[in-house]
Symmetry: none
């Protein structure tokens, strides 16, 4: 088989599936993994596809792919995401709201984890497309351009028809007195519906958000089952949140 043919096959695979692993290609093409790696490297240089660790993805996909803005915050969010992931049993059904911390969680979800995910968040759905074992169900509705999640009566009604094991509910603001709050009224309605649909409510948030609040209230703190921050669970900053029957991680 000519090298050109091989590369053509690779391009097709990437076009059809948006992503492909080197071992799959090596298998399919019956050449060593080194060879497909070199091929993919060449195609990457030519700008035909994007090489990633373990395989390749189509350029269209790489576009929407997440971009880490602030390294400092990013580390915190990865830390939170890892803690959050540790709470997800295999074969569970979860709900993920929007937000960059939740996006980080979606990105870090282990590929072996079999899971069903409901989400109204466009970026999170986009990310989860890459996950081989996640069944993703998108909550439809009117798109909020700021929050990049769906909102409105339809979405809220759809949420009322489901119950999930765990809801990972991000929040714009969190305060020991005022609970979870937001700046956007539509978003609050969605979060209320998401919380109602979740047997267990987990709130992942970076510590910067602690002790801040806004005008519209999502829920009281005692609605929250688990609060996850990048801090040590025993940190003093978390003291005001201990009195509400909340697990802190």
């Amino acid at each position: 088989m000519l090298k050109e043919e091989r590369q053509q096959v690779i391009i097709n695979e990437v076009r059809i599936h948006s992503r492909v692993s080197l071992s799959e290609l090596s298998d399919k093409l019956d050449v060593s993994i080194d060879t497909v790696r070199r091929d993919v490297k060449e195609l990457d240089k030519l700008g035909t596809l994007k090489k990633v660790h373990g395989g390749a993805v189509s350029l269209g996909f790489a576009l929407h792919n997440y971009k880490e803005q602030n390294i400092y915050l990013h580390e915190k969010k990865s830390n939170i995401a890892e803690k959050a992931i540790s709470l997800i049993p295999n074969r569970s059904v979860i709900l993920i709201s929007g937000g960059t911390t939740n996006l980080e969680m979606a990105r870090l979800l282990p590929s072996k984890l079999k899971i069903t995910v409901f989400t109204p968040s466009l970026p999170i759905a986009m990310q989860l497309i890459l996950h081989p074992n996640a069944e993703v169900i998108f909550i439809g509705g009117k798109l909020s351009k700021e929050a990049k999640i769906t909102t409105g009566g339809k979405a809220i009604y759809d949420l009322s028809q489901i119950t999930v094991d765990i809801g990972f509910i991000g929040t714009g603001y969190i305060d020991s007195q005022n609970g979870l709050t937001e700046f956007d009224w539509d978003v609050v309605q969605m979060k209320k519906a998401m919380i109602a649909a979740s047997k267990k409510v987990i709130v992942p948030t970076i510590s910067e958000k602690l002790n801040t609040y806004q005008c519209y209230k999502t829920c009281d703190l005692n609605t929250v089952d688990t609060l996850i921050t990048e801090l040590d669970p025993d940190a003093h900053q978390l003291d005001p949140f201990r009195s509400h029957n909340i697990k802190i991680l």
Copy 2:
């Protein structure tokens, strides 16, 4: 055997198979591999085919291989997208299925156009978030990772509850006999539902797809109101599609 004949055989082989290896040619033509190598080198210089390590490929194949093809296709898609956009009145309600041609349309939608868009496609929704005057309503459901659109009973039911002015329905394959067809059954169900929800059905497609078909049928050609390709509406290639009461743009 004359050199001329030999080279003609080589040209034919490449035309038929898109590719050929030097050893195959040497075998078939019963001359040394050096000779076919020299032949191929000449044909390459004449621009009849493209010489590659170990053999030769057709020019189309080579073009297909690299970035040029993407740019080439992209131009066609922009052309189609512009024609499609000209059919959208201000303040109309439209439905956009998935596909890269439709994505191009979403990208090129004039920012002044006030519009309501229903879509089950993740990339298109992602794109439309950037549009200042588009109200975007996402059709929720189970995500198909291949097509990046939602599918399944819920999405189809939701579609049955709406009616839009225009539906822009991309298609994987289109043929004058077999109509619109797809490779993926779930996607076909979605497209049927989208067509049912549209007062007017517009099918934007690049000419490469004309006269191709697959096993699952979306609809007959006479269901389509307007067919848009990058070709001139009078082009001969479109003749087979004229008899079905279709506007061609």
